[in-house]
Symmetry: D2
């Protein structure tokens, strides 16, 4: 049985190389996570375990794919920035997209038990993904700012919404109450009605999470009591920084660097 | 904090709608499964549990995505045929690809324990995927024939190779021995040296696996002893058919039908 | 001066092969031809010389590019159907599009004098173009029907509009008068007010123009008075047929034939 | 006759918007110009009239399409750089490509008589075209350097080749003689054998042609003998500059400027 007569079907595979000199952003998004979070009784407005699970998967991604230079996550969404010069699978879009989504999903399913030891997975966690290309560092930063502002806006709204609901309002009434309110109205509502100072809420809720590799200096003390030794080591960092302002980027000039 | 100044970054998202009137094939492939199968001690040349796990994930896919009309799997690879008129997510390639790969991966990780109750997952299972479009039923069938011939060729080779290795040959010697042999040489080798009649090996090894929805007639006997009732039900079938010849397709004319 | 250090810029050229087994339609459209037809005093609603010039360019196209199997033109627009198996420049979209548009434009400028011997070209004739792919003969035919119905609708409207304008109405009044009228209203208006039987107007106006290669039988009479000889010859035909109904296609089964 | 039942064919038109923030290079190339230049007896190695005709068409392009910021031509090829922020036809690739190629071709056919008053056009001039995107000014400059180095290499070779042929060598012998020679060998050959100092040849041959808009200051002297007036005017410039070195670009900082 020869296969040659059928091999022409391979000609239908289309090339999908991403153009050079563009930062590759893979954004992963929970599929039907509204229902998923209900089914698994996630805390509202933020479930810290769920966020830590997302972050842990992102750390695995950064460790697994060496061309990812930065990741930013909020809620059930994570953006992975691949360096503009990446030659991973010859920059084939379908390889980069499918492997990113598959690896992240796999990690999420496997690590579930570590973060929810007392809950079984009831539905398969599932993520969709997309690739967006950015030709300049400035635009990558604006992309990240866009996501972080979104995080802030959503979190402020959700914090108000769920406080109202937990205090006895119906979901519909809570929605009505918040319609048209400005940021400072929401902060005031939280403070007056619930004694919550929004600025004091955990950064992981307000700012989302950043994951990246950094060089840290370690001091090693030999067992034999000899001289301590310093060495440089690459480590994956998880933090909750303001990535809209310049400060973080000035302090980490190597993360986004045009070639 | 307004987001409007950053929203221009959305303009960089490119449309990726797949053209109408084309069958959409999503082929999923185990990533680094050579190592994965070693790490988990898969039987050689075929691990029946591993194949059944793949098939079980494919069944879930067919149940989950109603536009998948047929799936064909062999080894660590599975092809899913989406009907040519599918409007799933407006035919956006990245949605179709990422959700397919993510759902399959999720299922694989979750169902692992059902098929390997005594083995822990040591590495995260990971799959890559690609989309290929076929504008005619005839070419979809040729695509499936291509995969099934491949299954046959690989299985015959692997069966010989592993019998030789298990009988004491080094992998290199086994390779040398098989170089340039024809199908009938391999069959003879199996028969003479190992008493194996290749044609008698299980179809799941020789023909791979087909998954599709079929209408079956059920006979229901009411608890109250009343008259039995017949009803039609859609059920997902797993089988190991010859999909190169016309017979299967003549018997299932609705699976691949041009609009 | 070596060029090697700059050659990396070639890597930015993206592949643009059109998928196999699809009919390639190149539709060319006059750019700013409203003004162009005013500047050159084209007859309204139809300028027969201008249409014949378009047809003559289409004939040159069909002679020049052997993979074009059919062309259909109306007003300042022409569609060229390339056979589904064409391997012209490896099916690269930019080659097919740019050469089609360039050759057509060149012909238009060169042949102008043949059709308008007493008018100089005042503006450069310019055409834009696009490629659309159709995976089935049926859809190619629907595409052509779409263009021919459009021809009919526009021609009927324009005939009424220009008769009204020529009879003294302002363009605005003519527009108002025709707003919301049905086909039969327009036919009646033409007949009652201007004594025009729409059905008797020339087919080139009502049906547009078809260009294709056909095999014709020639009878050759030798100069020496010997026996006449019959031979088959491929000739480019220009006609004004109904291409919506089956008849034309039944009579020319070789033009659109799936492989 | 309603068109609605056929309008679905429009769904097959694919979006082809070019990504934002990329310089758009449209490179136009003479199609079968080897033969075209033979048929019209172009001077070898360079026909000054033919080059001036190409340049004149490029000037028309720059005047016609206001988003073209720079054009560079050599032999029968011209590259047009569209500014990175161009919104011409919503950045649709097929519109930009087809209109560029069509307008250039039209101009070439129309202006022919101005540059070759004693020669009739024997074949239709035809150009193919392609679009390449460059995300950074630096790479646009490298692209232009690539073309100019190519101009230099080809011109030096062709000058030697045609001097040898004109002096009586066969084309094959000329080719053989030049095989493997370095730049300085060719210069020496020209000087020793033909008394030609390559560096003294016209810049239009050695460096190709640049076309761009520049602001020039005009001094107007009123007819009534009043005071002269200075005013700024945008004018299209044709020059033969070194565009590899920084000097030209430092003197014209506005041509390629990232937004």
């Amino acid at each position: 049985m020869a296969n040659s007569k059928y091999e022409y079907v391979k000609k239908f595979e289309m090339e999908d190389k991403l153009p050079a000199c563009n930062w590759i952003v893979v954004r992963i998004d929970g599929h039907k996570f509204h229902r998923f979070s209900d089914d698994h009784d996630f805390d509202k407005p933020n479930d810290e375990n769920a966020l830590n699970l997302m972050n842990s998967c992102a750390v695995s991604m950064v460790e697994q794919f060496s061309d990812i230079v930065f990741a930013y996550g909020v809620s059930d969404e994570y953006s992975f920035i691949w360096k503009e010069t990446s030659q991973f699978y010859d920059r084939r879009a379908s390889k980069i997209l499918s492997l990113s989504v598959s690896y992240f999903t796999s990690m999420y399913a496997i690590k579930w038990k570590d973060f929810f030891p007392h809950k079984d997975l009831k539905d398969p966690p599932c993520f969709d993904g997309r690739i967006v290309l950015y030709p300049r560092v400035k635009i990558v930063r604006d992309y990240l700012s866009w996501r972080q502002v979104d995080c802030h806006i959503n979190n402020q709204y959700n914090t108000c919404f769920w406080m109202l609901v937990k205090s006895g309002k119906s979901k519909k009434d809570a929605q009505e109450l918040l319609k048209g309110t400005l940021a400072k109205d929401k902060n005031e509502l939280l403070f007056r009605q619930f004694g919550i100072n929004y600025d004091k809420l955990p950064d992981i809720f307000k700012k989302g999470s950043c994951v990246y590799k950094d060089t840290v200096e370690e001091t090693l003390k030999p067992d034999d009591g000899g001289n301590t030794v310093k060495r440089q080591r690459r480590r994956v960092i998880v933090g909750h920084f303001n990535i809209i302002e310049d400060r973080f980027w000035n302090e980490h000039p190597n993360i986004l660097k045009e070639d």
